[in-house]
Amino acid sequence: MKPLLEVKNLFQHFKISRRFTVKAVNGVSFEIYPGETYGLVGESGSGKTTIGRSIIRLYDPTGGEIFFNGSKISGKLDAATNKMLRKNMQMIFQDPMSSLNPRKKISDIIGEGLDIQGLYSDLKQRNEIISEILKKVGLSPAHAERYPQQFSGGQRQRVGIARALVMNPKLIIADECISALDVSVQAQVVNLMKDIQAETKCAYLFIAHDLSMVKYISDRIGVLHKGYLVETGTTEEIFSNPVHPYTKSLLSAVPLTNPVIEKKRKLVSFDASNFNYENQKLRQISGSHFVIGD
């Protein structure tokens, strides 16, 4: 099967001043296949959000290539590719409180993409599309006339999902989309995302730091540290046989809901200063399991 998204040797650097450059992402490569969920994990500052934003072209990548749906989407975009990219790749943001425009009605927030791309023939059809999508995410069509502040956090995140989904995208980038929500609401949103995937066969790039949730939802996982992809493989491979010391340390920090074991759990310490990832390549452990270094 051909990958839906191919990221090859992606670099994303931010020049702060003449002397200082933040090297957020350094030579990251991975691919996402149609209909699968790829989880990106790592501590804060590891570059997971930056990768998501580079892929959807909120940033201009410093180096490397990105292929999506058969066309190259890094470098200068021509009008046709840009249109294809905007329609087929969508993002769900972290904070449902600040990612929805408070002065717009829900129908206009969801309909904005449709308006820009001209995806309906008359107003009636626009309303139909919006009601349908609202029903799909578990809200009622009557909610279309409301404003974001009239919703609870979980409902707002549903609006965020509806906004992404209305374009019928092939890839959705979900950037920490459940970390601002309550445990019980997290479960509702994750179930919704899984249902939608089963129905529309869209792929997810699921960015999160909650490893038990990542394990639950992802088919494959990439572990990031200091802007380098240090280990990648299927969920099974990463969780049952972590190879890189950073991955081990990350897994050892996952809290378990089992008090007797949790109270005895030892944190595997990881000293980042001993690791220099520069110029190191991924090597194969087995099947689709790769780890950085020798």
Binding site: S44, Q186, K194, K215, V254, P259
Partner: protein, 351 residues
């Protein structure tokens, strides 16, 4: 076991433009000396309000309708914190006896003050101590909370520190006046897992060293399993189940606790769907008759709509407020997925 803090029948409401919100509806809990209790529940269940009442930090529009907060400050000497004036509370209790660590280290520090000054501030205010001594003490505290280069960090401003470091500073400030009780309001929610584990270990170490009693407010059950001796589950302004941490995690009895436990995937969860508690918490502007959980409870009985259940005793330390425990109630089993999961975790724990 003696209790250093004992909250009895606390009842608090808030005046708002929309009307009176009855946020806390009769909360009871005990904090044994030197132990850790955890208050868990969804947002809006009243965990933070309860703790703000204990710390004397309630907002202006609140009314304490009834209740006592007994603080045992010395052998056989107890004091009802609710009878103290604001001034007494501020001068004698806050900081020195009861200190608080807040959720978001980004907003709980003053961005215009060096962190050394912020740690010294409370000491200079509360204790007869020279500035030099306070500085020495602040340095020590920074070392206690695991900040390397303490000398240099004293002169840093909050924005120069990472999230984990900032939370360490907040903890240092809380500890500066040697409190007896430490209240941690979601202390690790804003941090990622590795830092979270380190901060929890730090609080545990300090607790052992200083003999602190700790109250955690959190919705993360993994954190609860790690730190707590006793767990109180809150829903709609009431405690609906409490017990030792093992009783709550291996033998939960309230359907709401079942829901909370099922909603979080553990590393073994492979079901197609996560269980989620349907609906959302009730609006306490209109106080529910009967059990507040009825509308979301798939096990609800007829009586739930009419009368709120009392606390039923399960063991000496384990109580739950659900009519399912009434001797006349039909026998109800918890959802099978949760049952297998609890069996798995009991087995893993060797129980």
């Amino acid at each position: 076991m003696e209790n250093i803090l004992s909250v009895k029948n606390l009842d608090i409401s808030f005046r708002t433009n929309a009307g009176n919100i009855h946020a806390i509806r009769g909360v009871n809990f005990d904090l044994p000396r030197g132990k850790t209790i955890a208050l868990v529940g969804e947002s809006g269940s009243g965990k933070s309000v309860t703790m703000k009442a204990v710390a004397g930090l309630l907002d202006q529009n609140s009314t304490i309708n009834s209740g006592n907060i007994f603080y045992n400050f010395a052998q056989d000497k107890t004091l009802d914190l609710l009878t103290l004036s604001k001034k007494d509370l501020r001068q004698k209790i806050n900081g020195q006896q009861i200190a608080m660590v807040f959720q978001d280290p980004m907003t709980s520090l003053n961005p215009t003050m060096q962190i050394g000054e912020q740690i010294m501030e409370a000491m200079l205010l509360h204790k007869k101590i020279s500035e030099n001594d306070a500085r020495q003490k602040a340095l020590e505290l920074l070392k206690t909370v695991g900040i390397i280069d303490a000398e240099k960090r004293m002169k840093n401003y909050p924005h120069q520190l990472s999230g984990g470091m900032r939370q360490r500073v907040v903890i240092a400030i809380a500890l500066s006046c040697e409190p007896k009780i430490l209240i941690c309001d979601e202390p690790t929610t804003a941090l990622d897992v590795t830092i979270q584990a380190k901060i929890l270990n730090l609080i545990k170490d300090i607790q052992a060293k200083m003999g602190l009693s700790v109250i955690y407010i959190t919705h993360d059950l993994g954190v609860v399993a790690n730190v707590a001796d006793f767990v109180y589950v809150m829903y709609a302004g009431k405690i609906i189940e409490f017990g030792t941490v093992n009783e709550i995690f291996y033998d939960p009895r309230h359907p709401y606790t079942w829901g909370l436990l099922s909603a979080m995937p553990d590393l073994e969860t492979s079901d197609d769907r996560l269980y989620s508690i349907p609906g959302s918490p009730p609006n306490l502007l209109h106080e529910p008759t009967g059990d507040a959980f009825t509308a979301r409870n798939i096990f609800a009985l007829k009586i739930d709509e009419k009368a709120a259940p009392p606390m039923f005793k399960i063991s000496e330390t384990h109580y739950a407020a659900t009519w399912l425990l009434h001797p006349d109630a039909p026998k109800v089993q918890m959802p099978p997925e949760l049952q297998t999961r609890l069996e798995r975790s009991r087995k893993a724990a060797g129980l």
